[in-house]
Symmetry: C2
Subunit: 317 residues, 2 copies
């Protein structure tokens, strides 16, 4: 089979659920359909499309339900909740994708695979967790959970509550990357392969096999790894802003149109990017570009096709 161009596209969590929206099926389907309409034209250029996605609100809700019910039903740890969120979002994405295809009179199959991401056992984030997950707790409850579950919390003064923080370790590899690679080489084109939801279920490698860990893998860093091993022609990160901005928090943010990996790292060191959102994207872009010599584009769903032609977004190469 002729191997046509392959893109890895990492979809920001906001593509599925925007801040403040309720996590109903209807809302998530509507958002996904909207985003997928912008993605559909991409398949003419990249008939092998690997789609990854965030899972913040979904896994937060699954965690919360587990916590609320823990006296009646054993609460499942974060790694299992991530796997559940992969199943949930994969299903909604397939449903939404099929509707978009139907409306446009095309048929492009989407296959959804549950995947795990191996993280370093000794990642410093295990002793200094910083990634907030789930809901807000009052101080008393937070202290209680610190004692009973060994969880760590940070206080969010603005929201007036305590929030659990978990490690966000770096990415070594995806457990299933060889199989994903074989799939990409052998599936009939065009196709979409959905995987690496929420950055993948975090596991560490032990003598007995893999062991799940209560952590959250950054989906952009895991997507950069995936793009590298799949020999992707491009890594695209779709987010809620049209481009990467310099001086983003200032009164006059400036869109960054073109940059090298080294530029991106330098800007990052200079503090141009908020660590929680754009930081990992910038690092992911730099890693992919530096290890492959290929291109990364960061933009919004609406400007996706413009960005590929250099008329919008941020291109790193």
């Amino acid at each position: 089979m002729k191997e046509d161009k392959l893109a890895v596209l990492a979809l920001g969590g906001n593509a599925i659920l925007e801040a403040g929206e309720e996590a109903t099926v209807e809302t998530q389907m509507r958002n996904l359909e909207r985003v997928f309409q912008h993605i559909l034209p991409l398949l003419s250029f990249y008939p092998r499309l690997v789609l990854t996605h965030g899972n913040g609100p979904q896994v937060g809700n699954i965690l919360l339900r587990n916590q609320v019910c823990h006296l009646e039903i054993p609460a499942l740890p974060l790694d299992v909740c991530v796997a559940e969120s992969q199943g949930q979002i994969a299903y909604l994405a397939m449903q939404a994708w099929d509707r978009v295809c139907r409306r446009s009179g095309t048929v492009v199959p989407m296959l959804s695979v549950i995947t795990r991401t191996v993280v370093p056992k000794d990642d410093p984030s295990f002793s200094e967790p910083t990634k907030p997950v789930g809901s807000y707790y009052p101080e008393k409850k937070a202290k209680e959970l610190e004692r009973s579950e060994g969880w760590r919390f940070i206080e969010d003064v603005k929201r007036g509550g305590f929030r659990r923080v978990v490690p966000s370790p770096d990415v070594l590899r995806l457990v299933e990357e060889d199989q994903l690679s074989a799939l990409c080489d052998r599936m009939e084109q065009p196709f979409i392969l959905l995987c690496n939801g929420g950055g993948g279920v975090p596991v560490i490698s032990t003598a007995e096999g893999y062991e799940g860990v209560e952590a959250v893998v950054d989906k952009d860093l895991a997507s950069a790894r995936l793009a590298q091993v799949l020999h992707a022609d491009i890594l695209i990160m779709v987010t809620d802003v049209e481009a990467v901005y310099l001086d983003f928090m200032s009164d006059s943010p400036r869109p960054l149109r073109n940059a090298t990996g080294a530029d991106m790292r330098r800007h990052s060191k200079e503090g141009h990017f908020p660590s929680g959102s754009m930081g990992p994207k910038v690092e992911a872009a730099a890693r992919f570009v530096e290890s492959t010599g290929r291109r990364t584009v960061i933009t919004s769903a609406e400007r996706l096709m413009d960005a590929l032609e250099g008329r919008a977004g941020t291109t790193v190469e």
Copy 2:
């Protein structure tokens, strides 16, 4: 690539969680590892192994958590809960499988795919739901949910509560069956493809695409369909008894060693099999054998290899 023998193996829910066991990760992993040790030798005979599984207790717990928390977080409908349970069980199965492989010094990759099953819109079960799901409610709460959610309930006198019943419609096809078929033809052997969890996420086909329905697909019937379209050499159903028994409820149940599809249907009509458990297996066996002329084996995990050699289990052909 040489196409070696392909088996579809449907794993009963009890392989993951036995009646009365708490749904912790540890218990589910231990059960899965035990069952997978019995399945490992199968790969020498069927190096293309498609694994499907039940999800009763898992989806029941997910449903219950959704219901308990519905005032704080929108409760997701049953189809989405089935998708979540696919993600959960796929992850635990991959973890358990890798450990079993590691111990035996082999490497066989398991790939897990989220799948949907198309059911008939006009299936009679939609007006007469009979499949109990989730937990037991007191009468008052059940009546309330009948009014607010349109749910249907049956009274379980023995357990002293009301339980939601949902439709268990027949199987038309799996949405992803062409892709699963391509995968089975093209993946490097040996491999395990895990899919069709809980019988697949139930959907109906509409003009706009697929629409999720609040129902439960019988995993054995869906597995029979899958075995048929994958041109499987054998359909194996692993359950908690060693064979199909005639007069199962009597004082002297007799194991049925060999039967034709027609025999099975006749025994079924004569009321030999309890409808909830062995009934769908018998129907699935008859369908696969009659449509393909190939063999179905029903047995326990412990007797699996004996049953393939005709020294245990029930063989339908």
